[in-house]
């Protein structure tokens, strides 16, 4: 091997070229080939195991069956899109006819009410989780800063946080549902109740990691920076804005990443029970449906949920890399 390398070196007249190729090869192997091998192993074990699991809905789906269902879902989406397009063309034609017959005809546009397709459900889930997360963020930052700055506030709120933090979304949901039904009574609601229920449940569960991390970040500001602020006689507001908040940014981001992970996990459960038309409802409907394809379709949803969760986490990490001054804390 080494003779080969020195030979290519001499041939290319460019020492270091071969070494660099070797390094590149090593990186490719480590970053691409090994993970791919891991995935292949998983697929094989899954495929072998699936054949031996008999359920009331037939054999447990292996990778091939799941792939087929994924394709089915795409086909269904395209069909549904076609149906919607057809519906609108027909409506437009009829309106044109009526207008031709009677110029005073008042145009009525009806929207298409087909069943939600898989991509639409993904979008609903994303919108719900991000809304819930945003609500949690808006609440968590001021609470976290207040607790971090003030020892008394910390002593006051800490027991409450520790008690509410481990509560499952499934326990919150009935309460949220009943309260929302009682409070959110509008003639023409801008948001459906199922959306509000899921969103608030997500917010309630994803609030805590952000509160705790913000508080810890604020409380652990180096004394030197506080002294700088004291020597400059910064006002309380400027102290928070110019010293405390930027100093806590790395910890706030850590909290946000944890919270977003929690939010996405909680969302699926919340959607199942609240019947919010997202991925959670999709899984629940397929479970109730019980056709021979259901397990495969649920498996597609499981993989999609995992993939989106991963992408959300990566997006958050990238955001942290762009916005946080502490690049070291955003390395993983």
């Amino acid at each position: 091997m080494s003779t080969l390398i020195s030979l290519t070196d001499r041939m290319l007249g460019y020492p270091g070229f071969a070494a660099r190729c070797k390094a590149l090869l090593h990186t490719l192997l480590q970053e691409v080939a090994v993970p791919l091998f891991g995935i292949c192993c998983f697929l094989m074990v899954w495929s072998l195991a699936a054949r031996h699991i008999q359920t009331s809905l037939g054999t447990f789906p292996g990778p091939a069956a799941v792939m087929e269902q994924a394709q089915n879902l795409v086909v269904e989406y395209k069909e549904e899109k076609q149906k919607a397009a057809d519906f609108y063309t027909r409506q437009a034609e009829r309106t044109a006819e009526k207008l031709a017959a009677d110029p005073n005809y008042v145009v009525k546009v009806r929207s298409y009410t087909g069943k939600a397709t898989f991509p639409q459900q993904i979008v609903t889930s994303l919108v719900t989780v991000l809304s819930g997360f945003a609500v949690a963020l808006v609440l968590a930052l001021p609470i976290g800063i207040a607790i971090g700055l003030n020892q008394t506030m910390n002593s006051m709120f800490n027991p409450l946080i520790q008690i509410f933090k481990p509560v499952s979304p499934l326990a919150w949901l009935p309460l949220v549902t009943l309260v929302v039904s009682a409070v959110y009574t509008s003639e023409d609601p801008a948001f459906s109740k199922s959306f509000i229920n899921s969103m608030l449940t997500v917010a309630l569960c994803s609030l805590w990691p952000m509160v705790i991390n913000t508080a810890v970040g604020v409380a652990s500001i180096p004394q030197d920076w506080v002294n700088v602020s004291r020597v400059l006689r910064l006002s309380w507001f400027n102290h928070v804005r110019k010293i405390v908040l930027p100093a806590a940014v790395p910890m706030i981001f850590t909290g946000m990443r944890l919270s977003l992970g929690v939010a996405w996990m909680v969302l699926i459960a919340a959607e199942m029970l609240a019947q919010n038309p997202g991925l959670g409802k999709f899984v629940w409907d397929e479970f109730q449906n019980g056709s021979s394809n259901s397990l495969g379709r649920i498996m597609v949803a499981v993989l999609t949920i995992g993939l989106i969760g991963f992408l959300l986490d990566r997006t958050m990490l990238q955001l942290q890399r762009w916005l946080s001054w502490d690049k070291a804390s955003a390395s993983r």
Partner: protein
């Protein structure tokens, strides 16, 4: 020369779980306008505590500090501090760190153009114009300390407080920084209190060296006038009998009169002194 700062019979006690710890007892010191004073002593003798009381970051248990006829109760930009580990805000560039101070302290008196010029002037003074828009973790330790000094100078303080400003730097960088500081000082004639435990640094930079006794209950031991002519050149001074004599006096105070009696095995343990340092 008029007295600008009067540290008058200051006692400092810290409450510890095992009762109160007397860090300083009856510290008395008067400093004239434009004077460069070094505080030297063994680590843990309360040098930083004195500085923090003058800065207003700590409140003396007894006695008080008077600056220009006014007693000090809280920190303020009239007593700018150069912190030991630079204390630059890591999310702001060198320029922005100085700008934050200038806007806060002089913002009401300057328009935005004057602010920019004043920030640039101070960065130029410490020879940091070339790296003005770099973040603190992109520049070396010496450069960070330069920016820290620029930030303190930009506040136009009555008195500049330096807490072991070059303690964390390597010997060559430290020498370079001392030379820069002498050039700046020659120009601005600030009143400075500097804490150090480097004997050469103290003799080279100071007009007076205040030598502190060991704690607990540390106080001013001896005061040494440094009458070497300015500007001073470190190479020329190496063989100067006046310089070597002063240096010997400081060393004699530290290692004969105030020899730190400390058994080797307990040296690694936490002393009350080191605790006090971290509290300061």
């Amino acid at each position: 020369m008029s007295i600008i700062l009067d540290i008058s019979q200051v006692d400092m006690e810290f409450a510890t779980p095992s009762g109160s710890f007397v860090a300083l007892r009856n510290v008395d010191l008067k400093i004239s306008k434009g004077e460069f004073v070094s505080l030297i002593g063994h680590s843990g003798c309360g040098k930083s505590t004195v500085l923090n009381i003058v800065a207003g970051l700590l409140q003396a248990t007894k006695g008080g500090v008077i600056l220009n006829g006014r007693e000090i109760h809280q920190p303020g930009p009239d007593r700018a501090v150069v912190f030991q580990n630079h204390s630059l805000l890591p999310w702001l560039t060198a320029y922005e760190n100085v700008e934050l101070a200038v806007k806060q302290v002089l913002g009401s008196r300057m328009n935005s153009k004057e602010i920019r010029e004043w920030v640039e002037h101070n960065l130029h003074l410490v020879q940091m114009d070339h790296a003005a828009h770099k973040l603190p973790n992109e520049i070396s330790g010496g450069m960070k300390q330069r920016v820290g000094i620029a930030r303190a100078l930009a506040m136009q303080p009555q008195i500049l407080l330096m807490d072991e400003p070059f303690g964390a730097l390597d010997a060559l960088t430290r020498a370079h920084m001392q030379d820069s500081l002498m050039v700046i000082q020659n120009e601005l004639k600030n009143t400075v209190i500097m804490i150090t435990h480097d004997v050469d640094e103290a003799v080279l930079l100071s007009d007076r060296i205040v030598m502190m006794t060991n704690g607990p209950g540390a106080t001013v031991g001896e005061i040494l006038e440094v009458n070497l002519e300015r500007p001073r050149d470190r190479l020329a001074l190496v063989n100067d009998p006046g310089y070597t004599g002063l240096r010997a006096q400081v060393l004699r105070f530290l290692y004969e009169k105030q020899r730190k009696v400390e058994p080797i095995h307990s040296a690694a343990q936490k002393k009350p002194g080191s605790k006090k340092r971290s509290a300061a």
